[in-house]
């Protein structure tokens, strides 16, 4: 892991913590962006953590690009010694896998896909060595995920699964991006899952939908009244498979203003996690489902 600093024009510094994805790189990025926020550097206008990198936007009339760079290098030196522990939330996200809406959409854009004769799930299962789509779906929801970045469009979380490298699922993006993706599609590209917060273009493979809105610019949905975006980097997500009936029930509850996502607060330690991943994930689940 070698940190690389590069300017994005005269208003941004792009910091690549590592070229490849890992939880270590994500934690260092999160720790450095927290460091920038805590320091309250004058002239900083945006602090954007990403999966294995981050970006600072600054006003060069207030702080010169070289001064900004020097500040970040100082923060990196401190971040080296930071303990990899965060206070965060664990959230259950219900997913209706193999739903009719993403199926209809993926059939419409078949000519842009690597396997025009199958479905996105069949293809993902095959290239990851699973016997069938259901086995793949099980791997997708059995271990939790870190929200490692929020972006692309408003409120869209990128998620990285909390398993060792050997068990990471990897699926390429569509050969050519689609012009349409249903709202709240659970997608996959590279080693990341995502949840499309709004309907629109997209290049990730489509596996299902969640009935739980995660972005509401009108701030009318009960749990999005305080802020229109649900996720933030560092949140932990557990996908829970649901059927059509449960999906529709949740949709009705959201509309009635009675749906509350299952959310608990939790302390996460990367060092403890790395000692025994499965046991640690088991404990996280106990926090989520214990009352």
């Amino acid at each position: 892991m070698k940190t690389r600093y590069t300017f994005g024009g005269d208003e941004h510094i792009f910091v690549e913590v590592d070229e490849e994805m890992s939880l270590e790189a994500f934690f260092k990025s999160l720790s450095m962006t927290n460091g920038v926020r805590d320091k309250g550097i004058k002239g900083v206008t945006e602090i954007c953590p990403a999966n294995a990198s981050f970006q600072i936007k600054f006003d060069p009339d207030v702080i010169s690009p070289n001064e900004m760079l020097a500040e970040l290098k100082k923060i990196e030196a401190t971040a080296e010694h930071a303990d990899h522990t965060i206070e965060t939330r664990i959230v259950e996200v219900p997913v209706f896998y193999k739903d009719p809406w993403t199926h209809e959409t993926l059939m419409r854009f078949r000519e842009r896909h690597q396997d025009p004769n199958g479905t996105d799930l069949d293809y993902a299962a095959k290239i990851n060595g699973f016997d069938n789509a259901d086995e793949f779906i099980k791997a997708h929801h059995s271990a939790p995920w870190f929200v490692s970045m929020v972006g692309f469009v408003a409120g869209l979380p990128f998620l990285y699964q909390m398993v060792d490298r050997a068990r990471q699922l990897e699926v390429p993006k569509y050969l050519r991006p689609r012009t349409d993706t249903p709202k709240q599609t659970v997608g996959y590209g590279g080693c990341f899952s995502c949840i499309y917060s709004v309907r629109g273009a997209g290049g990730y493979q489509m596996f299902g939908v969640t009935p739980m809105p995660i972005y509401d610019p009108k701030q009318e949905i009960s749990y999005l009244k305080d802020f229109m975006v649900f996720f933030k980097p560092g949140d932990i997500v557990k996908f829970a498979p649901i059927d059509h009936t449960t999906h529709d029930k949740i949709v009705a509850e959201v509309e009635a203003g009675t749906y509350q996502p299952r959310v608990k607060t939790v302390t996460f330690s990367l060092d403890d996690f790395n000692k025994d991943i499965d046991a640690y994930n088991q404990k996280l689940e106990e926090v989520l489902y214990g009352d």
């Binding site: 994005g8 005269d10 490849e20 994805m21 999966n51 294995a52 408003a154 990128f158 490298r165 610019p217």
Partner: protein, 324 residues
């Protein structure tokens, strides 16, 4: 009500100077694509420079006024008319209640800014009145104007009044070919030296896919990548990175073929590598490019980028002084 939309134009939106501070959640800054033109339009009618105004692209709207107001149109050359009678661009003029503001065909540039004394009154969302249509956020109901929409003004006033003008030397539109200065960086080291040279020597053309999110360019040579191992998590194409943040103005080249320069409604991040970034001083120019415009990217270093930024500020100060 002060203004009724008789016809909305192509994609006319309410914009101010934007909504900084939420890019980490995927909510871009938005605001006028040509910020200089927005500021000048507001100054001409006597508004705060960052007041909300209308941004019209390629085609003007038709607006009926129900109150007297002062109006100025700047940016691309989209000649304004009041009840069918021509008015000057980059100058303030009066409109009486019951009169209709309409526009002739676009003569040059791409976007015109229509400032109205008092400023447009739409709700402030996350600190701005700008429209972010992709996220259905801000502006007029989170979308471009539609027929029969009714706009309100913050106050009914004649502002600074008619007859104020900005001399042609203080107006700014791209040349032909347009020159966009860019600082190489980000993932510049991924491409071959020859491709780096070609990128700056080729003449590109604006593709039809050009909007507030970004501008796509065609016609230059494809980029060749240096041989390297694919990083874990990046994806299989040599142009893929582990999804990261995209600077405003950054130049991504999906598949190494057609560069896309991200603008005010940028997607905040994604999985494509970038060769560099258009400098802040030239972002306004992109908003004035029509599809098929010839464009060259001009390589600059940080010192030149900052000098260009100061030049732009000096030009704005001259406008301020001339209208003070």
């Amino acid at each position: 009500m002060a203004i009724k939309v008789i016809s909305p134009g192509l994609a006319t939106t309410v914009q101010d100077l934007g909504r900084p501070g939420y890019y980490h959640l995927g909510i871009p800054i938005s605001g006028a694509m040509d910020r200089f033109a927005l500021r000048v339009a507001n100054m001409l009618v006597g508004n705060e420079e960052g007041a909300a105004a209308l941004e019209a692209v390629f085609m003007g709207p038709e607006l009926e006024f129900t109150a007297d107001a002062t109006v100025a149109v700047t940016g691309g050359d989209l000649p304004p008319k009041v009840d069918g009678e021509a008015r000057e661009s980059w100058s303030s003029f009066e409109i009486k209640a019951g009169q209709v503001l309409s526009f002739d065909y676009l003569k040059s540039g791409a976007r015109a800014y229509i400032a109205i004394s008092g400023g447009i009154d739409v709700p402030v969302v996350l600190g701005s009145r700008s429209t972010y249509a992709l996220g259905a956020l801000g502006g007029f109901e989170g979308r471009p104007l539609g027929k029969d929409d009714e706009l309100k003004l913050l106050s009914e006033t004649l502002g600074a009044g008619s007859g104020r003008t900005v001399v042609p030397e203080l107006r700014r539109l791209p040349g032909n070919p347009a020159e966009l200065r860019a600082l190489p960086g980000l993932y510049w080291h991924w491409i071959t030296e020859e491709s780096g040279t070609n990128f700056f020597s080729d003449t590109w053309k604006v593709a039809p896919e050009a909007d507030r999110i970004g501008y796509r360019f065609k016609g230059g040579q494809h980029i060749q990548f240096n041989e390297r191992e694919r990083p874990f998590g990046a994806g299989s194409d040599p142009s893929n990175i582990v999804d990261g943040c995209y600077p405003y103005g950054s130049i991504q080249v999906p598949g190494g073929t057609e560069p896309i320069v991200l603008h005010r409604d940028a997607v905040s991040g994604g999985g494509y590598f970038m060769v560099g970034t258009v400098i802040s001083a030239d972002m306004d120019l992109i908003g004035q490019l029509q599809p098929h415009s010839e464009t060259r990217f001009v390589k600059v270093d940080m010192e030149e980028a900052l000098a260009a930024r100061h030049d732009r500020q000096a030009m704005l100060d001259k406008v301020r002084a001339s209208l003070a």
